[in-house]
């Protein structure tokens, strides 16, 4: 063994969490190294070739608003972009883009390579050492090279002791043929990290030339494309289409006839799989009445013929998988390029973490991404960013950076993880947030960019632009509140055209905009002095006026929430000695060590009565 180098921060793993962690650390001035088993696996998208989606699109925009990288990489390499839920309310509009997988990997790797203060190193980290005080001291590569560091961020994704399973066949392997990390698990356990075993899966990849597209429905992207990053400018264009097909009775019969060969049902898979990412066999078994299940056919890139079959995750044996695929319309002669497989891996129980994502018992050790029990690229990137920022702030002796549930989906995600834990890979969903109407993807910059600027990840130039945008929004809102539209012929004709109740006397433009059938864009013809404004500005104006009442109510809820959230609990409290608490509550509180009464109240097994006891106890201190 030899000491190869000395860093402030070591990032173990080059997936979406590792990337954000490394960027944040290096940009905030820390000498940082990112280690990956294979540099060609950096920024891999081992499952669906897309970024964003419901709630996930929100996460990407929040990452961007704080100065993260994912949105920019996605904007640079997307193939098709859509806003999901466009027909629904503004809170649940979610951006999703098909991504050129290879292109994205190259793009992100190149960005990392160019980053100052950041080294990229191909090495499998197998161990880490602690100093006399129990703080992280170094990470050690399989080759024997030791890298001194003051903090380490573990972002091992699905690689820890991973095993892929295809029916009766299984082998130790990471995704896409990359080596698994077999040794780190036991060494993490040795220093006291509690690991659990999770499972996830991915569908097959099919060669495009073997698919009969005449039998498939086509799905195209949005005409007007919204970028992920608030910094992206210029025209964006869709380059590909996606397709839709369906399973049928024949597919379901093949599955039911061969269920005994599925490791999920045969009991060979022990890891806990996610509910929201069920295999096709799961769907068929659990929803017997459903005659067909929808599948999406998505391109993996421009310079490849591989197509991803979303909705068709499976761990059936290869021969059955092929039969199942051939039963689908348009796939009668499909040629499978990669099998669907299930993958099992080790990850950490997130209840061991503070909301900073640092391990409570090991100073300087942080976890992020799938290692913390989540699922999804976006969830991983969000945690990587927060772990990176907090590792730096901890080394600099600065206050922790914690987003709360009313500020961001990122805050909700991390609070859920470290407060409630998870017994399946955790996916972000809009229904996980109590403050959806406040946490929209369109206002992520308003919510978070000032914080990103304060942290030091948002440039002065971008911040000035942000301020200008805020001014423009405020001005236009004031203008609409000032203008009074008379019951003139023109206005009445407009109202009649859109089927809106006629007005008898003058009405403020902002009042009229509140009517469900009136849009800002539509009002143009009766709003003559309207200035020319960016779509991003008018969107904010419209939403904030139109949904004012609802937004105000959510703000009141958020303020209520903050009251309990701001009641901090001292670190060195001995829960086991608080008499009025029930035993279960004592143990849970002792394990999770919440930072505030609000957090304590969300721990499962801690009742309102326990919180009442805790409040009284804290008063008596």
């Amino acid at each position: 063994m030899f000491i190869a180098d000395k860093y402030d921060i070591a990032v173990v793993g080059g997936g979406h969490a590792g990337i954000e962690a490394a960027f944040a650390a290096a940009r905030l001035g820390m000498k940082t190294c990112l280690f990956s088993i294979s540099l060609d696996a950096i920024a891999n998208l081992p499952c669906n070739p897309s970024i964003g989606g419901t709630a996930k699109g929100h996460l990407v925009r929040e990452i961007d608003a704080l100065g993260g990288e994912m949105g920019k990489g996605a904007d640079a390499t997307f193939l098709q972009s859509r806003i999901l839920n466009r027909g629904k309310g503004p809170a649940v509009h979610s951006l999703r883009a098909q991504i050129d997988r290879r292109n994205y990997q190259e793009e992100m790797k190149h960005r990392l390579e160019k980053q100052e203060n950041l080294d990229i190193r191909q090495a499998e980290i197998v161990d880490l050492t602690l100093d006399d005080e129990g703080c992280v001291r170094s990470v050690i590569a399989k080759s024997g090279a030791e890298y001194l560091c003051r903090a380490a961020i573990i972002c091992t994704g699905t690689y820890l002791k991973s095993r892929i399973i295809i029916g009766e066949f299984s082998q130790e392997s990471g995704p896409d043929g990359v080596f698994p990390a077999n040794e780190l698990s036991k060494n993490l356990e040795k220093i006291g990290v509690k690991l659990v075993r999770f499972k996830t899966g991915t569908p097959p990849r099919i060669n495009r030339k073997s698919i009969d597209f005449s039998k498939l429905e086509k799905q195209v992207g949005d005409e007007e494309i919204t970028p992920f990053s608030f910094e992206t400018e210029g025209e964006l264009k869709n380059q590909v289409a996606c397709y839709i097909t369906y399973t049928n009775e024949k597919t379901h019969k093949i599955i039911m006839d061969n269920l005994h060969r599925s490791p999920l049902y045969g009991g060979d898979i022990k890891g806990i799989g996610p509910r929201y990412c069920p295999s096709i066999e799961d769907k068929v078994v659990r929803f017997k009445d459903k005659e067909r299940h929808q599948l999406f056919v998505e391109p993996m890139g421009i310079r490849t013929e591989e197509m991803y079959l979303q909705g068709f995750s499976s761990s059936m044996p290869e021969d059955i998988q092929i039969q199942m695929i051939h039963s689908l319309p348009g796939f009668e002669n499909a040629q499978v390029m990669r099998n669907a497989y299930a993958i099992e891996y080790d990850c950490a129980d997130p209840l061991q973490l503070y909301p900073t994502l640092e391990f409570k018992e090991i100073k300087g050790l942080f976890g992020a991404g799938q290692f913390n029990g989540t699922s999804g690229y976006e969830e991983a990137a969000a945690q990587g960013l927060i772990a990176g920022i907090n590792a730096v702030r901890s080394l600099k002796g600065e206050e922790a950076f914690i987003l709360d549930r009313s500020q961001a989906y990122i805050g909700t995600l991390i609070d859920d993880l470290v407060t409630k834990g998870t017994n399946e890979p955790y996916r972000m969903m809009t229904s996980r947030s109590e403050y959806r109407l406040l946490l929209r993807q369109d206002n992520a910059d308003i919510r978070l960019t000032p914080l990103g600027y304060e942290i030091g990840l948002i440039s002065e130039e971008r911040y000035q632009k942000y301020l200008q945008k805020q001014d423009a929004i405020a001005c236009e809102k004031q203008r609409l509140e000032r203008i009074i539209l008379p019951p003139s012929e023109k206005v009445l004709a407009f109202l009649e055209k859109i089927g809106s109740t006629p007005i008898k006397s003058g009405i403020r433009a902002s009042e009229l905009l509140k009517r469900p059938e009136v849009t800002y864009k539509g009002m143009q013809e009766i709003d003559e002095e309207r200035p020319k404004l960016d779509a991003a500005v008018t969107e904010q104006v419209e939403i904030s006026i139109k949904y004012e009442g609802y937004i105000k109510r959510q703000q009141t809820q958020a303020e209520q929430f903050k009251k309990l959230e701001n009641k901090k609990i001292p670190e060195k409290i001995d829960y086991l000695q608080i008499d009025g608490l029930r035993l279960e509550a004592r143990q849970k509180l002792d394990k999770i060590r919440p930072k505030s009464l609000g957090q304590a109240s969300r721990i499962s097994g801690v009742s309102p009565a326990d919180i009442a006891v805790l409040i009284i106890y804290l008063k008596s201190l």
């Binding site: 839920n85 996610p274 929808q294 969903m429 229904s431 609802y550 009565a609 009442a612």
Partner: protein
Amino acid sequence: MKLHDTITAIATPIGSGGIAILRISGTDAEFIVQKIVQTKNKKPLCALESHKLTLSDIHLLGDPSVLIDEALVAVMRAPHSYTGEDVVEINCHGGFLAADRILEQLIKAGARLAEAGEFTRRAFINGKTDLTGAEATMDIIQSHSGLGLQNAAGTAAGKLAKKINGLRDEILAIAAHISAATDYPDEVDEPASGQVYNTLAGILQDMQQLIDGFSTGRMLKDGIHTVIVGKPNVGKSSVLNALARAERAIVTDIPGTTRDVIEEYIQIRGASLRLLDTAGIRENADAVEQIGIARAKENMQKADLCLFVIDVSEGISKEDIAIAKELDGKEIILILNKTDKAGEISLTEAEKYLGIPKEDIVKTATPKDAPPIGIEQLEERIAQKFLTGKFTPGEVYITGQRQKDSLCKGADSIRRAMDSAGNAMPYDLLFIDLEDAAAALGEITGETVQEEIIEQVFSRFCVGK
């Protein structure tokens, strides 16, 4: 609220019954009781089997030679006790004296006198009962009537929780559908807006029914707040005494004898009446009497039922008509009293001048040396008015202000959600109100929302890549 100390109280109503029970709860319960108890079998309390009665001597603290009482002592060790803590119960002789002296000794020995409801509060804190259960237990303890007791017992057994949870599940089902359609837009369609509106209307109706039942529930628990009103010397106190079957109020021929409000609980067909006799209302009363009249009027406004008494021998006077006016809009039974004396008022006349329908008029008399007349008819009419139609046996009624507040809050949210649905607002806006409604109902039973919606999304919808 202190939490670690040992509390004690006399657990049976003071002064009634052959046995009085003292309850001691807390970590030091055995230790404290030991200081004043000597078991007949000479065993220390810690050697007694849990939940078994043992005959013992209770003596003065620090002087075992001074015997206070002979009593049965039971130790109930945590967590298998009412409060979930170590509990000792002393069954001593009834009446006031023995129990009181023992209580005094217990406090000297280190126990603290329990606050009202503190045993139940501890039971709740220790997870022995949920919120509705705890509240119902308080109602059982405070219940004045058989029907109230039945209602409280039903609630304690989880009837109310079941009903509330049923409503909550309906709300969560809609929320889950909206969530599934939002998080999986390519896979799940939104519910039809008419369907959502109608389901919500049904839920609102059920919630409103529970809210409306509050007055019945409160009457069952606290008794029907009944006020006897009328001019001075029409025999209000005699009516009270007749209903109470006791000489509760002083009765004289002197107008204005009753100067303050006199209160009495009586039972009618299992329901309880909180009966208040008030000062007669008249002009030209002295200062003291005027205070009484003001209180009478105040009570009239709060009353569930007013028993309006007039003296048939004097006919319908201007004052009577004035009082009838003040009673307008209240539940009234008109009592034509002193029918044993000369003079008569016909039902038609009474209805005409006082505006009270005939079926709400009862004739009574309370002769000095004979049993009262017409009291049973009066009781019958009260029962008809308050039990028939209003109270369905087997139905649960909310009795707590907290429960009512939460239900009202929930109903407001449902109304807002219906407004949004009616105005074709996007579902995610409606969702906020559904969550609020479910949370409000959860406040009653003590459940939270978020995780349950997600649970339902995955159990009811086939979604995911």
